[in-house]
């Protein structure tokens, strides 16, 4: 068997798995009748359709593809980890450490994801953005954001 499009091969499998999971999950809800469809009716049908589409994509990846095999390519771990990590960090520490500490740290962590990272730029960015965001969101729009660390 020859994979002609790596992207579509993985896409197809992912769609089958997700569609299947939704369809199986839907069976735990009442299906209802055709006259009075229950909560499981719609998601079950959609899950099946998604899985079928996955099969089509998977089949396509084995029969037709681009010349070079359409590779997925390397995963840029550094931006992926930095960006996602920064969001999770912010979510976790904002209620504990407050805006003034967690926010600039998040910006620096985010900046570290770029390939042109320098400490000077990152800290400068963090200071400017923290001041700006404080003025706009907390002072200006009066949004409820914990500013100081929780005691």
């Amino acid at each position: 068997m020859n994979i002609k499009s790596q992207k579509d091969f993985v896409s197809g499998i992912a769609l089958i798995v997700v569609g299947g999971a939704f369809a199986i999950g839907a069976t735990s809800y009442s299906f209802g009748t055709a006259v009075r469809p229950g909560p499981g009716y719609f998601p079950f049908g959609l899950g099946i359709i998604l899985a079928i589409l996955g099969l089509i994509v998977l089949f396509g990846s084995l029969t037709q593809g681009k010349k070079n095999g359409d590779p997925i390519g390397a995963i840029p771990w550094r931006p992926l980890i930095c960006v996602v990590g920064a969001i999770v960090f912010f979510g976790f520490f904002l209620p504990k450490l407050g805006f003034l500490i967690s926010f600039p740290l998040m910006i620096i962590l985010t900046s570290a994801g770029g390939n042109e990272f320098t400490w000077k730029d990152a800290i400068l960015n963090a200071v400017i953005l923290t001041v700006l965001s404080y003025l706009i969101f907390i002072y200006g729009l009066q949004l409820t954001i914990p500013v100081w660390p929780a005691r």
């Binding site: 579509d8 055709a34 998604l50 589409l53 996602v84 920064a86 953005l129 009066q142 949004l143 954001i145």
Partner: protein, 502 residues
């Protein structure tokens, strides 16, 4: 006359000081993000929504609309000056606009784009104002089967007109619909797919998905690529005013583009984009000197700009009259309305005439502002064009992070957004177009409700969708669209169009 009376109501709202300010803010912000690299209207709207709770709904929607057409305007500026189309619909503008700029006619190209957009915007606003009431009246005749069929048509249209693989675009819509199923069932009050997590019982907020996929996911994707260094060919823009000859060449093209744009804009999916593509080929066919196209023909700037702006205007028609979004941006507008407690649909016109007509007339006001402000400000935009991405992405992150937290002052939303960031990046990596997902997500619950109501009404008989004439027509159109697009000849042509776009 009704039309004049309605416009009068509208201008009373849109010309109030506060709404003028928000129209201005929206148009400026839109232009800004259109010009800046790596930030689109979807991400921007998602980013701003949480801060808009406190605004009056009319002002908020006026500002969001401003961002939408402002972004298109900014997108054409980058298309002309640096050959980087900021928005999908300004891809065609880059063809001749950039060539004009290279020949020292950048000012004229920008002015032509601005003026033809303005003309098209004016006509577009009038068309929306004229056609909204009859369509709304028609919408009141719609029952659950018609709504369901219409949404089906909308989704099919969005898929067919999206770029890339058809099966994958369809899969995105279905996935969107499925994500919309994570909620508490409206009819039986059974929580679905919530795994006992209280936050999931209310469903995932669409802002979380939009932000995760379009803002965070895009950032990761952009950082994974080698840094883009933009070069401006034109350092200083001079000679803005078009000559008499320019006007003579551009005017008929503008008019044709406007007509085409008004017609195609109503279509679901990529209305404005489709309009700009087809108007370009129309001009090429009409022209006595087709060889000039691609080498800096002024018609090649005027027509697509007029078409995409007219299309952007008329794409509000289905959203305003039926409450049905035809594109991801419109889906966000619908979401914004719901967030602010306005049930989108045909009743908005009667229950909220100030909002309805105010929004329509504000589009014209916004277009006036864009022309008056942006031509003199072009120097600033030229400078902003080259802001390096390394300063931009932390700022985008910052505003998004605050936005997603303040959505409901809940860290759960933040974690969800982080998960969707990964998902969004996967979409990018595997070649999925994310826009249909948002559309499916917003339409999902509405569609399910109407489908179940229709089946209930018809006692479980699916034939209700083919025995009622309006519903049957819409289903038929959708099926024809699907069949046509899979015909080998057309699908090849479709691929060509989208390859050109990339």
């Amino acid at each position: 006359m009704d039309l004049i009376n309605n416009l009068y109501i509208g201008f009373q709202t849109s010309l109030s000081l506060i709404n003028l300010w928000y129209a201005f803010l929206g148009a400026m912000l839109g232009t800004l993000i259109g010009v800046l690299p790596g930030l689109g209207p979807i991400a921007t709207i998602a980013m701003l929504l949480p801060s808009m709770y406190s605004l009056e709904p009319t002002s908020a929607l006026i500002m969001l609309a401003g961002i939408y057409y402002g972004a298109q305007y900014g997108g054409s500026t980058t298309a002309i000056l640096i050959n980087v189309p900021g928005e999908a619909s300004s891809v065609v503008t880059a063809l001749d606009g950039y060539q004009m700029a290279r020949r020292g006619r950048a000012g004229k190209a920008l002015a032509t784009a601005a003026l033809s957009s303005f003309f098209a915007g004016t006509i577009g606003t009038l068309v929306v104002a004229a056609f909204a009431p009859p369509l709304t009246a028609l919408a009141f005749e719609f029952g659950a089967p018609e709504y369901c069929a219409l949404m089906f048509l909308g989704l099919v249209g969005a898929v067919v007109l999206a770029s890339g693989s058809l099966a994958k675009a369809l899969a995105m819509v279905i996935l969107g619909l499925l994500l919309g199923q994570i909620n508490t069932d409206v009819i039986t009050a059974v929580p679905r797919f919530s795994f006992g997590i209280a936050e999931l019982m209310d469903g995932i907020n669409f802002v979380v998905i939009a932000m995760g996929v379009f803002s965070f996911g895009e950032i990761i994707a952009n950082l994974g690529k080698p840094a883009e260094h933009r070069e401006i060919f034109v350092k200083k823009v001079t000679g803005l005013m078009p000559t008499k000859d320019d006007l003579k060449e551009a005017t008929p093209a503008t008019i044709r583009g406007t007509i085409l744009g008004c017609l195609l804009g109503v279509l679901p999916g990529a209305g404005p984009m489709l309009a700009s593509f087809s108007s370009y080929s129309l001009e090429k066919k009409c022209s006595k000197t087709p060889d000039e196209f691609g080498k800096g023909a002024i018609q090649g700037v005027a027509a697509p700009e007029a078409a995409n702006n007219a299309g952007a205007q008329t794409s509000f028609i289905p959203m305003l009259t039926l409450g049905i979004p035809t594109s991801a941006v419109m889906a966000l507008m619908i979401g914004a309305m719901t967030l602010m407690g306005i049930q989108p649909g045909p009743q908005v016109m009667t229950s909220n005439p100030g909002l309805f007509w105010g929004l329509i007339t504000s589009m014209w006001v916004g277009n006036v502002m864009l022309v008056i402000l942006n031509l003199p400000l072009i120097g600033i935009w030229v400078k902003l064009l080259t802001v390096p991405y390394r300063f931009l992405f932390p700022a985008i992150m910052a505003f998004c992070a605050i936005g997603v937290y303040t959505l409901s002052n809940n860290t759960f939303d933040v974690y969800c957004a982080a998960a969707f960031a990964v998902v969004g990046y996967l979409f990018h990596k595997l070649g999925f177009e994310p826009a249909p997902l948002i559309l499916g997500f917003i339409l999902g619950p509405m569609m399910e409700e109407n489908l179940r109501r229709a089946l209930l009404m018809a006692r479980g008989d699916w034939s209700v969708f083919v025995t009622r004439p309006i519903a049957a027509t819409m289903i038929a159109v959708a099926v024809v669209l699907m069949v046509v697009i899979t015909l080998p000849a057309i699908s090849k042509k479709r691929e060509e169009v989208f390859v050109e776009e990339e």
